[in-house]
Symmetry: C2
Subunit: 350 residues, 2 copies
């Protein structure tokens, strides 16, 4: 019954583990061992097999492994809506980490306000048998999501603007510190009448950025009247509306911190519509350093966070157990943001 499998090695069809075993004159299991670098095996046989693998260009079939292991070599990226550039940078970071591994990245947008959010995510994870998942804010701020991941046995890393989980499950920027520093810069430039366009309710990042802003003002003993806080939703349109309120204040603020660049662009736009000179009559500070920041006139002073590096680190945390060469101890959980000084901030001119 030793019916030799027909050498139907059409150039198109990839070789299987059986082909390798046959060519190397060993059993499948032995080949499996060198693939998984597991178990102890003779140096000669290993080299022999490795040679055959190189020659044939054999690559293990991920689907078969997935079936056998009950787990896929897929990393999921779950996001809601945040800005396009952030998601794409995140993708780039993740893919950086996945390069030259057998992992691939699947992207899944979800609706954070849907009552079935948790179920949708579970469905996605379980169905695709994800190896791990990277969760972007604001969904990452939801502890129930993290718990669900743990329950279904899926690795996860949350990305956020503050440390919400232990180091193995978190990559965080420190928005509060970053905004504090940036606001200090505003104050150093001589501004005392400073307003803020906040981010949406329920976004941790919005709260962190507001807190950092308040920190700096409190340090300098500058009061923050209720009128100087206008609520935005991280969108251009909401930034426009918020700015209208702020520019009606008398005396008009000499500087506005917008909690993200999208809204900072709106502040600039609104100022232009009113003929207000930037930065002479109004300084503007943003957050994110999206591409738009450098393309506006004047270019935007803003806070840059290392999102690509964070994405890379997140993926590393997820796949470390399956890929050699990743030193988890060197994989940070906290990332520092930096102030990028451009033209939109200057001392106030009275």
């Amino acid at each position: 019954m030793k019916g030799e499998p027909k050498p139907r090695m059409a150039a198109a069809s990839k070789p299987t583990i059986n082909d390798i075993a046959r060519l190397a004159g060993v059993s499948k299991k032995t080949v499996s061992r060198v693939i998984n670098q597991s178990g102890s095996l003779n140096q000669d046989t290993r080299e022999k097999i490795e040679a055959v693998i190189r020659e044939t260009g054999y690559v293990p079939n991920p689907q078969a492994r997935a079936l056998a292991l009950g787990r896929n070599f897929l990393i999921g990226l779950v996001h809601d809506n945040p800005n396009a550039q952030m998601i794409l940078n995140m993708q780039q970071g993740i893919l950086d980490a996945l390069r030259d591994t057998e992992f691939a990245m699947v992207v899944q947008p979800v609706n954070r306000s849907s009552p079935s959010l948790i179920d949708d995510m579970r469905e996605f994870i379980v169905r695709q048998r994800l190896y791990g998942v990277v969760i972007l804010p604001p969904i990452s701020e939801n502890d129930a999501v993290a718990q669900m991941c743990a329950e279904v046995g899926c690795r996860y890393v949350r990305m956020g603007s503050a440390v919400l989980d232990d180091s193995a499950h978190m990559v965080a920027s420190n928005d509060r510190d970053a905004v504090r520093d940036a606001t200090r810069f505003l104050i150093e430039q001589g501004h005392r009448n400073i307003a803020i366009v906040t981010g949406p309710q329920g976004f941790r990042s919005a709260a962190e950025r507001l807190a950092g802003f308040e920190d700096a003002l409190a340090e300098a003993k500058i009061k923050l009247p209720r009128s100087h806080r206008a609520g935005g939703e991280y969108t251009f349109e909401s930034g426009l509306a918020a700015t209208e309120q702020l520019l009606d204040i008398s005396p008009r603020p000499t500087a506005i911190f917008a909690s993200n660049d999208e809204m900072a662009a709106a502040v600039l736009y609104a100022a232009r519509m009113r003929g207000i000179m930037v930065p002479d009559e109004l300084s503007i500070l943003g957050f994110d350093d999206t591409p738009i920041a450098a393309r506006l006139w004047p270019p935007l002073t803003t806070v840059r966070w290392p999102i690509v590096a964070m994405g890379r680190s997140a993926a590393h945390k997820l796949i470390a157990s399956a890929v050699s060469g990743i030193d988890l101890d060197n994989e940070p959980s906290e990332f520092l943001s930096t102030l990028v000084r451009r033209g939109s901030v200057a001392p106030p001119k009275q």
Copy 2:
């Protein structure tokens, strides 16, 4: 510490086809038939099985199907670099089409100038056993890529700025017509001294947009001196450099068409640096209608192409054979772009 953590399956480990078969009192194959809506089977047994499936919340394991079918239910998105918003909109369109199907989307960036581009893509497709792949420009313009897909038996749809393939394998915008119309608008406004910042060599879209520009000028018997064509690379920086050349021309052009918004933003930026008023002294026309276009001051008049719809259509073409409810005859291959008139174009003021 590289021990494989055991997949601690959630308490409610998902039912398999065997469970369904047992509960319904039929064979696996019969269950398989209702899942795949294939073959002819008794109405009663079908309903019986469907009821069991509903009750148990059974979902077929995609990995097992992938193994058995030799093909995964994954749609790949292959892109090089184009702008972030375009890729993300494309993703959105594809995911729209994939919603409520068993398909997922995996994203793969590649390097178009790598000598191993074809091999890299083949590796990706074959390894993941992709069901189909959406290829973005400029890679999509490479016929060898399409041929490789056909060779490995992977469905593909190319996205591009002109029809390069048959309707089943192509979603195309019509950049030439769109730019011709947009340039006509410039001419109608009274401009005769018009310059262009072109896109990179070898990009079909760049050639198409230039051709449309030339069409309109020729119609109006306006000459296009060599000096009025500055070469860009679709990047902000290249746009800056190109604009410097153009603004040195005497008499200075009263209008500039930039082959994408990124470079149009650069034209505006360069004009501001020189204190040139837009649109009074210089009209600017862009292409893409990326978010930045509406956020600049003045907001950019530009050409919008329906990229989300194109992504949706591309995915539909790929999965039509596996998903019911897609009418391929209604799935267009050519998409019309429209001119979005905003503030950056006005009649020239002498």
